[in-house]
């Protein structure tokens, strides 16, 4: 009975947080002289209005999920893997590189794609390992190291697009030469969605859920994240575990990059990560270590991103409205969590 009551208050607080975020965004819309209801309606119609739109949401959802599940691992280890953007980018670069080398060979496309995606994971993991090594051996905080590596990754992409990998004739911001359709992850007829990216994202979520909940690795990682010194005294090799969490997260980020190349853009473009790394950080903060919640929350965030695409056309509003709503949501959830803790404490003291 008691437990039940607390569960209801928890749900009430969560709904409160959503209301707070909507309230704030509505205020922003009113200040911008835009009709709020119309805007929300467009967001909804733009993301769930048709099968086509919904599958577009899933196209964005898959890489976002992969980035978020990776971040759950580093968050558990108490690490802020800001460098995830660069890790996605490196995944895309490695994938593109392997595809370019093998596209003219006689190897079967399935093999080429598999190799390309796997090397994307290696690329992401390597980039994350650099951040981890900087932290472990150089004493550079992973936030600063990761931020720096993000810039390097962006520069590397631009150099490749305008340098060695430029299109025949002249390089342009539209990216490298697109790959032949045989080297795309198979798509559903007339839609942009590849069912494979959805399968990979769900599989990643299940693996990470089991890894964090049911294994020694997950438990030790949690301990390292909560108290490194005690974990060391308890016999856990702490820096090796932190490094491992970087590798796992980097591999998943690299996988997201590989999906961006093989299933979405079919080439390397300058902003290949689409900001899913940073968006993933928001999702991971929002779900607060509960792996299964990433599925719906990432879906919601992806829907906001896709839904906002038509705002400029229909309402002359900037599509960054989705970012306002996402940011407001994370902030209000964190605020409400603080309020909830206070409320529970007061309730405990009363009872």
């Amino acid at each position: 009975m008691q437990r039940n009551k607390f569960q209801w208050t928890n749900i009430a607080f969560q709904l409160g947080a959503v209301a707070l975020a909507l309230g704030f965004t509505t205020l922003v819309l009113i200040l911008a002289d835009a009709p709020p209801l119309e805007a929300y309606k467009n967001l909804f119609v733009g993301s769930f209005g048709s099968i086509k739109k919904f599958t577009d949401v899933l196209v964005a959802w898959a890489p976002l999920m992969l980035a978020t599940t990776g971040l759950l691992v580093t968050f558990t280890a108490g690490l802020w893997n800001i460098g995830i953007e660069g890790q996605i980018t490196l995944g895309a670069i490695f994938t593109t590189g392997v595809l370019r080398v093998l596209q003219d060979s006689s190897a079967p496309p399935t093999l080429i794609l598999t190799l390309a995606i796997l090397s994307g994971m290696v690329g992401g993991a390597l980039w994350a390992a650099l951040v981890g090594a900087l932290k472990t051996f150089g004493g550079v905080n992973e936030i600063f190291g990761g931020l720096g590596m993000n810039f390097v990754a962006t520069a590397l992409t631009l150099w490749l697009i305008f340098g060695p990998w430029k299109r025949p004739g002249i390089g342009s911001m539209s990216g490298t030469e697109p790959f032949p359709e045989a080297l795309w992850l198979p798509q559903i007829t007339s839609l942009r969605l590849s069912i494979w990216s959805v399968v990979i994202a769900v599989a990643a979520l299940i693996c990470i859920y089991i890894l964090l909940k049911g294994t020694y690795f997950g438990l030790r990682l949690k301990a390292v994240g909560r108290n490194m010194r005690s974990s060391f005294i308890l016999g856990i090799p702490t820096w090796q575990y932190m490094m491992a969490s970087f590798l796992v997260c980097g591999a998943l980020a690299g996988l997201a990059g590989a999906i961006q190349v093989t299933a979405v853009y079919h080439r390397l473009i300058p902003s290949i990560s689409s900001g899913y790394g940073f968006l993933g950080l928001l999702v991971a903060m929002l779900v607060n270590f509960q792996a299964l919640w990433t599925l719906p929350v990432a879906l919601f965030f992806a829907a906001l991103n896709i839904g906002s695409i038509q705002l400029p056309i229909v309402l002359k509003l900037d599509s960054s409205l989705s970012g306002v709503l996402q940011g407001a949501l994370v902030l209000s959830v964190i605020i409400m969590e603080g309020v909830r803790q206070r409320f529970l404490k007061a309730a405990r003291e009363r009872s």
Partner: protein, 491 residues
């Protein structure tokens, strides 16, 4: 300032921590509050110092009713509390800690404050360096700093929660002297402890709490057996000393030297045999901690050789020592021993190297229940460690020590535990000694504990290490002298 507590009542869920407590403390008195763990001492003091609010009851200061809502409120009324773990800012300087928390100007006049600080500390013969960093101070010195800070903020009532744990014998003497001076100035001192001898030495009056109720008060001369009976409801006594049957070599040190930025220890040679208990005595910061940590592999010795079970582990890391059966229990529970946010069950899984990839959570549940029962821990398998009381955290630490262990190294194994728990813990440790053949090295600032449970004793003084003394033929007096730096010429 006269303090009067009338009908204080405080419950936490089903537990009644304070049950209708009436207590009157007159100005200039050193009032002892005695009771075992969980008797309600800390709760009562937290109510008085504003950390928590009582459900019922009144607080009167000099006859006037006051409502204390926060520690800032309390100090405003002149009530200051010294916590068991000093609430200071370790990375900052002494003088910055002194200034922090004081109301007043935006830019403090450092020179003037330092002068005031030195003037204040001279009154009590403290010798703190205002420019020293707090993390370099001992617990005793941090306590002195906290006393000065509270006095500067205008404290008329000083509450001290277990102030003699973790400080050296000499610092304790100085603390008592200080408290007597303050009482003579008309300040009210409330001294919370479970140490009978401290209360006996210091307090003008004693109130005894048991299970949330005030069971009695006493004035000198105290009858110790009476106080013990009030505290526990029955008389407990220490068991007789048993002679040990030493086994093979568990730990051998050959001319080991250890150094840190303050101190150089050794060269020390020692042979600890299986089933032997060696107590490490000394003022805090005399080198015993460095020595113990070197035996765990956390600190590498600068010279000499270390053998565990005959195997040379010189220069190896902590985890290698652990694999070779060296088990270590640190003193700071939440910083070095336990992981906040993890449950008891998760701790037991972490501490056991079962191998494999997946955790058997059902088995873990069973193991956790066994350990909880075996070590008398008040908690459930899914309780997080930070929700446990200090004594239960301590028992959890003991339960987490791996078995089998050939060498057990402990810092203050029973700090913060009441007499009954202490007896219980030591009976478990002794059992480990005789059944598993573990050797034990432990640090304690409690001389009685050292004499009671050790077979041999090493005394540390300013980095010097005495030869092993036979505990059976050593007296408290001898030990006290050595700790204080006298009688070393004999070695």
């Amino acid at each position: 300032m006269n303090v009067e507590l009338i009908g204080i009542r405080k419950t936490f869920g089903p537990v009644t921590a304070n049950d209708n407590i009436h207590l009157r403390i007159l100005s200039g008195t050193i009032q002892g509050i005695l009771g075992e763990n969980g008797a309600g001492k800390s709760t009562l003091m937290k109510v008085l110092s504003g950390f928590i609010q009582a459900d019922q009851g009144l607080i009167l200061l000099d006859g006037k009713e006051v409502k204390i809502h926060s520690p800032a409120d309390a100090i405003h009324y002149g009530v200051g509390m010294l916590h068991q773990d000093p609430l200071d800012f370790p990375p900052m300087k002494v003088i910055e800690n002194f200034i922090a928390g004081s109301p007043g100007k935006i830019i403090p006049n450092a020179k003037e404050v330092i002068a005031r600080f030195n003037e204040l500390q001279r009154q009590f013969d403290f010798t703190l360096d205002p420019q020293a960093h707090v993390d370099r101070l001992t617990v005793g010195e941090r306590q002195q700093l906290e006393i000065l800070r509270l006095l500067w903020l205008g404290a008329q009532v000083l509450i001290l929660d277990e102030p003699t744990t973790g400080i050296s014998a000499l610092q304790k003497l100085k603390l008592f002297e200080t408290l007597r001076k303050l009482a003579a100035q008309g300040k009210t001192i409330i001294f919370v402890s479970h140490k009978l001898e401290d209360v006996e030495q210091l307090c003008h009056r004693v109130a005894v709490l048991r299970r949330g109720q005030l069971v009695g008060e006493a004035t000198p001369p105290y009858r110790i057996d009476e106080l013990v009976q009030m505290m526990f409801g029955k008389v407990v006594s220490f068991g007789g000393r048993e002679s040990y049957k030493p086994g093979e070599m568990a730990l051998e040190l050959k001319d080991v030297s250890i150094e840190d930025y303050r101190m150089r220890i050794g060269p020390v040679s020692l042979q600890a045999r299986k089933r032997e208990v060696i107590g490490l005595a000394g003022m805090e910061g005399s080198g015993q901690l460095l020595f113990l940590r070197a035996c765990t592999g956390l600190i590498r010795p600068t010279a000499g050789r270390m053998l565990v079970n005959g195997k040379d582990l010189t220069g190896k890391g902590y985890h290698t020592f652990l694999k070779n059966g060296v088990v270590y229990m640190p003193a700071s529970r939440m910083e070095e021993g336990l992981v906040p946010g993890c449950s008891l069950m998760e701790h037991f899984v972490l501490a056991r190297d079962q191998g494999g990839f997946f955790v058997d959570w059902e088995g873990a549940q069973k193991i956790a229940q066994e350990q909880i029962a075996g070590y008398n821990i008040h908690g459930r398998p899914d309780s997080t460690v930070e929700s446990l009381s200090g004594g239960n955290q301590q028992r959890t630490l003991l339960a987490l020590m791996r078995t089998p262990a050939s060498l057990i190294l402990m810092e203050h194994p029973t700090r913060g535990l009441d007499i009954e728990s202490t007896l219980y813990i030591w009976s478990l440790l002794k059992e480990r000694c005789s059944n598993q053949g573990s050797a034990i090295l432990f640090i304690s600032s409690d001389l009685d504990e050292i004499l009671q449970y050790s077979d041999r004793i090493l005394v540390f003084f300013a980095g010097r290490v005495s030869p092993p003394l036979d505990a059976a033929s050593t007296t408290v007096d001898q030990l006290g002298q050595l700790i204080g730096g006298r009688g070393w010429d004999a070695f």
